[in-house]
Symmetry: C2
């Protein structure tokens, strides 16, 4: 076995075209709505078959970076970043290290959104959150869905759409990692109701500490694990 020798990169034409188009779009500084050349023009310009061009274009279409209409042609459009993220976030094929990383990322967010929360929160929001927290004591199945509802509402309250959708994506990861660790989900010492109270009171520092305490079991596991 020969060490330290890497196989030469044999990029497919489709991939090369993808990169080439990326450069082209950047160089032309296209904005959403701008038209791009036809498939045939691109194929001719790049010296490849229309087939290859279409394989590359298909990639951009998946990302939502370009849209196409018959007869009209293709235009740039703004991509759906969260939707794209969803496409690769498949717990069953992701390696456990990355899953763990994402789990930690979500933990960090959970604590980090507190400042946004206190900027954007409204009384109506807190009312709703309180109603969710009121249902905290239930069976195991309901507890999990309640947990999701509560934290989901918190993200929603930040008024940050991307963040909210992002969190929704990370949910399955959360469940998966917890299951992976075979640990019975154990709650921290601070309940949802406690958190609502702190939020209502407007005590940001106390809320942050409370949230951390709420998540403490997870952090404890991290500390012991790695």
């Amino acid at each position: 076995m020969v060490e330290g020798i890497k196989p030469i990169g044999a990029k497919s034409m489709a991939e090369q075209v993808e990169l080439s188009l990326r450069d082209y779009f950047a160089k032309k500084s296209f904005k959403p709505g701008d038209a791009i050349p036809t498939e045939l023009e691109l194929a001719a310009a790049l010296g490849v078959s229309r087939n290859v061009v279409r394989e590359a274009l298909s990639r951009f279409k998946m990302l939502g970076i370009i849209e196409s209409k018959k007869k009209v042609g293709m235009i740039i459009s703004n991509p759906d970043i969260v939707g794209t993220f969803e496409k690769v976030l498949n717990p069953t094929i992701m390696d456990t290290a990355t899953l763990q990383d994402l789990f930690e990322l979500r933990l960090a967010l959970e604590v980090g959104i507190a400042d946004l929360l206190f900027i954007r929160k409204t009384e109506a929001d807190i009312d709703e959150l309180e109603a969710i927290a009121a249902n905290e004591t239930r069976g195991d199945f309901f507890r999990i869905s309640n947990e999701i509802a509560f934290h989901g509402k918190l993200y929603e309250m930040t008024g940050n759409e991307t963040l909210k959708n992002f969190q929704k994506l990370l949910l399955p990861i959360f469940g998966y990692v917890v299951k992976l660790e075979k640990e019975k989900q154990v709650s921290g010492k601070v309940s949802h109701k406690d958190l609502v109270k702190l939020l209502r009171k407007g005590d940001k520092e106390a809320f942050k500490k409370g949230m951390l305490a709420h998540l403490q079991p997870h952090y404890d596991r991290l500390k012991a694990h790695r």
Copy 2:
């Protein structure tokens, strides 16, 4: 104009095949390394041309979900989620609302990683961080690259590879939003050196407050803006 009638979903074959394959992979619970049927088999099973199948497969290849070798066929592989994210993160075509959202997301992370930081930090890390902080006072260009180095090191110290790469991706967003707001980048009242001191001392609460103070100008802008 006829109301209340939605155009029939005209998904392209390639898109339908993509979805279909997604289901198939999930149902079969494929793991990285597992072989999938050949292009011809898929085309026959789905009742479409090989062409269409290849356009769909091209998408998966971009995400790193499948790899192909001539003669051998195709296998599932674990996707590069950060790399995928990079492909859609193009500040020039993203709408400003999403850019703003991502900016906030990064702010939240910056504060939220403190707990991970205190679990994983080492003296050697802090030494390095201190060295970076020592160069804080310089010209404008250097100040920005120093800023990047400092915060980058912080993410690195979390021992979370995904987080680190994720932050690296968000950097251009950060720069872009700041420029967009036409605001001269102004520092908070807590310097990098101060943060290092707090980190060294091991005072987590103080560090968190310090970090927030460091980022305060950004939060102030948010408060005023929306």
